[in-house]
């Protein structure tokens, strides 16, 4: 019966059922697939995963990417958010331009940077005009792992800084301007106001942005494939390979479980380190 009391449950039911079918069930199933082989509970899939020669490299590459890309994005996004508080004329246009990458997929971002960084690409044209390289140079091959790695960083920073910026701009807008004015009256310089007022008050948004961005960064995949094919192994790429090419769902699911565990671990660390204290309004 639909009554005033049961109505909200009727409204929720469809999405609840949907989420159970497409989140909860596959989630449980993933563990089932990862920890079972030949009808038994086993660590075999994880053993296969760890023994694979690309495992260590993919774990290392993913971690390094996260550790470089995320802080870089936070710094750039913070700069953008602070600049936006100062701009008056043209603010909406600048904001629109800076949010464009929000709608660009990782695959598309990879292709965009491929166009720039290919052998006879635009960046080489500029570098050669500046006399840094002579003629077309290869950047995106297994022979130039550092350059390939930097290319992935560039593409990731280019694509996914916008989401951090949007979260931070939303956070900055929630800070009443009186706090900054009061600090100004009581003698704080622009830098002191940023460090002592804006940053602490922005902590909840910073926390959200860090968690979200880190989780997504652990799933880096299509950018890497578009730029380097299989020359730069990452965790998600290995999961894809085991599923799509080797047709081994067990090992692929083991990778998925690993990514989830690392994500949870990082989230807990952030929550602990960036505790948002009770007193914050």
């Amino acid at each position: 019966m639909i009554t005033e009391r049961t109505l909200p449950y009727w409204l929720l039911a469809p999405s609840l059922v949907f989420l159970i079918a497409l989140f909860a069930y596959p989630f449980a199933d993933a563990f089932f697939i990862a920890f079972r082989a030949d009808g038994q509970w086993t660590f075999d899939n994880f053993r296969t995963m760890v023994d694979d020669i690309n495992f260590g490299l993919s774990l290392w590459n993913t971690m390094l990417l996260v550790l470089i890309v995320v802080p870089l994005q936070i710094a750039i996004a913070l700069t953008m958010a602070m600049m936006l508080t100062k701009i008056r004329a043209g603010r909406d246009l600048v904001l629109y331009v800076w949010t464009i990458p929000l709608g660009i997929s990782d695959l598309a971002a990879g292709v965009v940077w491929l166009a720039l960084l290919s052998e006879r690409g635009y960046i080489n044209t500029v570098l050669s005009a500046l006399g840094i390289v002579d003629g077309p140079a290869l950047w995106l091959s297994y022979e130039t792992p550092v350059a390939l790695f930097i290319a992935v960083i560039l593409a990731e920073v280019w694509r996914a800084t916008a989401i951090v910026m949007v979260i931070l701009v939303a956070g900055v807008q929630l800070i009443p301007k009186e706090y900054n004015e009061a600090a100004e009256i009581f003698g704080a310089s622009a830098w002191q106001r940023f460090v002592k007022i804006t940053l602490p008050l922005l902590k909840p948004s910073l926390q959200t942005a860090l968690i979200l961005r880190t989780l997504l960064a652990f799933e880096v995949f299509a950018v890497v494939v578009a730029l380097g094919g299989r020359d730069l192994p990452v965790l998600m790429g290995e999961a894809f390979l085991w599923q799509f090419d080797y047709r081994d769902s067990g090992v692929a699911s083991a990778y998925a479980v690993l990514i989830l565990l690392i994500s949870i671990a990082f989230t807990l660390v952030y929550l602990r380190v960036l505790r948002v204290k009770e007193e914050a309004e």
Binding site: E178, A183, E184, I185, G187, A188, L201, E279, A280
Partner: protein, 353 residues
Amino acid sequence: MAAGIYVDKVRKVFGTFEALKSVSLDVQPEEFTVLLGPSGCGKTTLLRIIAGLETETSGELRIGDKRVNGLPPRNRNIAMVFQNYAVFPHLTIFENIAFGLRMKKLLNSEIEPRVKKAAGMMHIEHLLDRYSAQLSGGQRQRVAVARALAMEPEVLLMDEPLSNLDALLRLEMRAELKGLLAESRTTTIYVTHDQVEAMSLADRIAVMHGGHIIQYDRPIEVYQNPANAFCGGFIGNPPMNFLQAERENGHCRIAGAALPGPSASQGNGRVTLGIRPEDVLVAETAASEHLTGRVTVVEPLGPHNLLTLAVDQQLFRVTTAADSPIKSGQEVYLALAPERRRWFDTESGKALH
């Protein structure tokens, strides 16, 4: 210690809107000046220009002997209390009050007694370890004032500091502020739209309207001799009554009576008579110089009754004793105290003498 404030022909334009039109003001050292006016009159803009939070379009500003145009707020030796208090939510109350002192790089041994003293003045010593979210509105208000007092500034600026408090608390804080600021002898500029607050606190009131200062004088002067009809209508509750009068050979005809007109600018034409409700006596019998009116509404307010009348089809308010027998619909006669009658030019609104 306390410095004067000199504002000379300051203008402020936002885009195409002229918020301040050549405003001049000089506040004596230790004086308490209230900027009073309706919203949008430019009073907060003027305060923020003095604070250095807005930049004036033109004009000169001095605090004490120092020209402060272009100086950032921190170099003006001022303190400010904000309308929404702006008590930092991420700092304890102690650190909030100490904020400005830390910015001055004072030693801890100097900061602590000053914070304690300011907190003591505002009776919030017991709240020093708490955070803003744990405080009531009234307590936050006290923190905001203590934070300003701890600076021992040359000039104290207050932007509608009581407007977010409920009525009873506002009354209490008003009296407390008055005592406290009289004692500290700091030059103060206080912005409000509440004329009672202005009357109660100010040494001098600057009445602002449409980007101008219309009158800058002692409260009693502003009340009794408004510089124009706007001042008379804005200050006082209920406000001053205005009646259109026809001038005729030195006398003015209103509602069946002929009153002696203003001495200045003899001639014919229209003038406006202003009289405060408490300066009118209601009689039930006619006499010379009495105006005739019909009572439309009687509102018993406790200490007195407020009568609304139609005098010559114009709105008129009078207060009478609470036990007055006058009823709605009754015809009455109004005696206007001769020394309290004020005349205004109908066109410009300016006072005539």
